[in-house]
Symmetry: C2
DNA sequence: GTAGCAGATACGGTTTTCCGTAAAATTTAC
DNA sequence: GTAAATTTTACGGAAAACCGTATCTGCTAC
């Protein structure tokens, strides 16, 4: 359960809407800070007082307003707070939507969630909070991001072939047959399973249905018939 | 394997394109007829000569050009030829796209395939031929048909809820939890399974992935996030 | 009230998917 | 050529989906 939250965000308008979202979730104890240095200090103090935060919601980029800061962005803030309170949950809320950045945050830095600032980010925030409160993670699906034909996700034509077969009603175990028919390799069931696993992971999908949905919406899969 | 085909179709332009499609599939022996009565007679004669047709491709509606005919449409032709040659495969190729009609043809009359005349019906014809030659059936998916919000398929809000959960990555076995949370009934796993089974059947989908794809393309499922 | 009916749920067996690991094959480096 | 590394395939156990059937529940008719 998440009770105490710290929000590190330099734009006041954003702060207000985040506050409202948290209100809606019944989270009363919310602290705000406009600087990374200040955020770090707040985490530190709360911890020593035995009243640690449960979650840090932070932006990635903070504007430089002249005040000299040792920590200048969220990217540096995260490892700093981790050193003080390793179990602190971290949710990044940022306009940054580059898949490579998001993936790095997820895989290398190991944050708990990422929400891109966009049209209906409030709803996303809620979903992320829900996931994190259940010790799950939350990351955006590709569909929200407009990107070229699979480029950033290195979607191979082979991947597309598999997805198309699936979306055309071919059962997973029969996909090897169809791949062989078209002389595509790899074509073993094992390799198909691995591919799909990889794709689900990359797109943050938990099942094939969601994967298909995401790929259609993102335009990777063009359903003609 | 399909070698000998009879095409019952009163529009010459359609006849030509059907012919070309069959040519492309390597089917040499193709007879054409412009009237249902004539089609019936051809089937009869071929059978008595011990050289029966393997497949009848027929339209549903035939224009009345003054010549008095006993059989006026494909709907009546089908039972008539069935009486003569029950095992004859039947593929309906028609502009009729009413789901209720198609469903009746499939379930009550038990035809082997149905292709709607539309943009890329040639490709569909090929696929139907392929399926039928393998003793499978072929029926259109909803995506090709523009229709109101699930109306003709009596897609309930409950169905949509289930599909949405699936497309949002909820595993089938966890769907009951989410339904209960929203006080929706029925909410047992069993009922979810049954519902999905029904939907797959109605939409002629063999797996959930295809079902989701079809519903998205048809606009039943709006993927916002 | 009860008998009958329809919808919902529970259950069990089979198939399929999932996922980790090991073996085999192919490529790359040297 | 061999050795190492990478990719593909094979395999096996656990989980999930699939599907038929049986039970339960609530409703209608009488």
């Amino acid at each position: 359960m998440i009770n105490k939250v710290l929000v590190a965000e330099d734009h006041q308008t954003v702060n207000i809407s985040v506050q409202r979202t948290l209100d809606g979730l019944g989270i009363i104890c919310v602290d705000h800070t406009y600087y990374c240095d200040d955020a770090l200090k707040k985490v530190e103090v709360a911890k020593t007082l035995g009243d640690s935060y449960d979650l840090l919601i932070t932006d990635l980029y903070f504007e430089d307003d002249g005040l000299t800061q040792t920590i200048k962005d969220g990217m540096s803030l995260i490892p700093a707070v981790r050193r003080i309170q390793p179990e602190l949950k971290i949710l990044v809320f940022s306009g940054e939507k580059e898949p490579t950045v998001i993936r790095r945050m997820k895989e290398d830095i190991g944050i708990d969630g990422y929400v891109i600032k966009a049209r209906n980010d409030a709803k996303e925030l809620e979903m992320a909070m829900d996931a994190i409160s259940k010790n799950q993670t939350y990351f955006p699906r590709i569909s929200q991001q407009k990107m070229k034909y699979g480029e950033a996700f290195n979607l191979s034509s082979h991947d597309i072939a598999i997805l198309k077969l699936l979306a055309n009603g071919i059962s997973q175990k029969d996909i090897p047959l169809h791949l062989k028919k078209d002389n595509l390799i790899p074509c073993s069931l094992s390799s198909v399973e691995k591919r799909l696993n990889k794709l689900r992971e990359e797109f943050n999908c938990t099942n094939n249905e969601q994967l298909i949905a995401a790929c259609i919406v993102a335009g990777f899969l063009k359903m003609t018939s």
